[in-house]
Amino acid sequence: MSEPRPVSFRGGGFAPKSVRWIGAVVFIALIAVAEIGTQTGWISALTLPKPSDVLDTFVQLYQSGLLWKHLTPSLTRLLVGALLGVSVGISVGVLIGLFSYIRSGLVPLVAAIFPIPKIALLPLFVIWFGIDEGSKYALIAFGTFTPTVVATYGAVDNVDRTLIRMGQSFGLSWWSIVRKIVLPGAMPGILSGLRISLAIAIILLVAAEMLGAEYGIGAYILEAGSLYDLERLFVGVAILSLLGIGVSAAIGAIERYLLRWRN
């Protein structure tokens, strides 16, 4: 018997964890570099605005009361459009998940609609739904509809069939099975689809406000872009980013509440 050699450890890595403060440090470092660069003239005014000027512009926007004048219509558009798109999307997705004929009829249609850039249809929506709020709601609703449908029917497909058979074996009604077994079972998939749908809704907000919007975050950004007003452009973009973070946090909270049975 020779001397035992230690077995070397080889099971490390491949398990990333998120460290809380790193994200904030990256943000602050980037902004600091931009501030120093623009202050010293190493970054030209044409390339990037001064972060401090952007903050200043934001404060002015807030103090002038224009912030809410822009945010309120945008949030309304997001809310109404996304609510329409998501609720119709979930309903259609569940129907596709449950019925053979609807599945055969609608899956190819959804696949055909999915890749259409919804922005391309904006002029058409203006004719159909009017240049005011209707076309904006429609664009956001349409944009959130397709990813929701796809996520929902995928999630319904993944609901454990034995649970459905169990429901049937206890004589539960069709509606009870859908409400108490299919929907909760599909909820994790629906919610992760919702993350994507709502991010798309925010992207489409700018597109929706291209036509005929005097106020709105998207209109504000477009105007800043056409005036080459970089401070305002960055303020608008930052508001959209915050909106995205907010939506993501809200879905996170909903997930923690609705899916607390999972963790």
Partner: protein, 334 residues
């Protein structure tokens, strides 16, 4: 500022010399000119086709755009050297950032010559919008806040004591669609588009912009601040060739002193409405011919009025002066 003035004095001396003799530019210099496929951009097309650019030693390549706004950005990013477009808020902002300079004038409104028209949608017209006096409370289409359409709407409504609601629609095509379907009430646009739409009965023409904004300097010639300050010879050459092109164009299609202008229409047709058959294109080209300023002269009074309007609307920084925007050393000013 002092260096600027000194250099400017030198430049003025150089400009005097240019009038006497064509400068001896040895090698051909390659420049890129931004253009829209509009009749109003014809001066550049003529200058290229008739060799005026070559005469001043410039090897010109065109880069075509869909809208005026990106051209200003392309000048700032040095992707193009010279371009012609309306003064917009974006242009002023870029000038403030030291990126671009307006060096001359192109299209002007002039009494007696067909200029930009005020349009009303059919529904609005039927509801009583038969003259600009009835504009109060109506919606006015603009591409963007701070665009020339916004300026015109604002000036016209101010003259009529009306309050307009502006609808930003980004693109001329989108505006035409919205106007045809009566989603917006009114708009103003260059004559050939106005007449095309009005003639087809899709919209109603209710007035002339020239009645409200006389001597309106609609479009200007502009370049990067770097070219204006440091590429004197090339810039002068461009202005000279552009002016020669403008003179030919005016003589053929505006003043009609050079025959029936068919040659000129053929030339322009190579660039504008190239996808349409000649007979149809000819009508539009002739209808869209507005005067391009002789010698690219610049109406500073009109530019100042526009700049003041941008400031009053809060679209641009209140500190911007006319000097920041203009380099008047190249052309005659009024």
């Amino acid at each position: 500022m002092t260096t600027f003035t000194r250099r400017r004095t030198l430049q003025l001396a150089g400009a005097g010399a240019l009038a006497l003799a064509t400068p001896a530019i040895a090698a051909k210099r390659k420049i890129t000119v931004g253009a829209l496929r509009f009749t109003s951009h014809s001066a550049s097309f003529v200058a290229l086709e008739r060799g005026y650019f070559a005469d001043v030693g410039l090897d010109v390549e065109f880069k075509f755009f869909q809208a005026a706004q990106p051209m200003a950005v392309a000048i700032a990013s040095k992707d193009i050297d010279y371009a012609v477009t309306a003064i917009s808020g974006g242009l002023v902002s870029l000038a403030q950032k030291g990126a671009i300079k307006v060096i001359g004038g192109a299209l002007s409104e002039e009494k007696g010559i067909d200029g930009q028209k005020i349009l009303a949608s059919n529904d609005a017209h039927a509801a009583g919008l038969t003259s600009p006096a009835a504009l109060d409370g109506k919606t006015w289409a603009v591409t963007q806040a701070g665009s020339s359409f916004h300026y015109m709407g604002s000036k016209i409504s101010a003259a009529e004591g009306a309050t307009l609601k502006y609808k930003p629609l980004q693109k001329v095509g989108a505006i035409i669609g919205a106007l045809k379907s009566s989603q917006v009430d009114a708009w103003s646009i260059v004559p050939h588009i106005a007449k095309g739409l009005g003639g087809a009965g899709a919209v109603q023409i209710i007035g002339d912009v020239a009645d409200y904004i006389p001597n309106y300097q609609v479009t200007t010639v502009f370049t990067s601040a770097d070219n204006a300050a440091n590429e004197r010879a090339a810039t002068e050459g461009f202005v000279k060739a552009f002016s020669a092109g403008a003179a030919d164009f005016n003589a053929a299609l505006v003043d009609k002193t050079a025959g029936d202008g068919t040659d000129m229409v053929k030339l322009v047709h190579k660039y504008v409405y190239a996808d349409r058959e000649f007979a149809k294109a000819e009508k539009s080209i002739r209808a869209g011919s507005m005067r391009i300023n002789q010698g690219a002269a610049l109406n500073v009074t009109s530019v100042e009025d526009q700049l003041n309007w941008f400031k009053s609307e809060g679209l641009v920084d209140g500190d911007i002066t006319l000097d920041t925007l203009l380099d008047t050393s190249y052309v005659e000013t009024a």
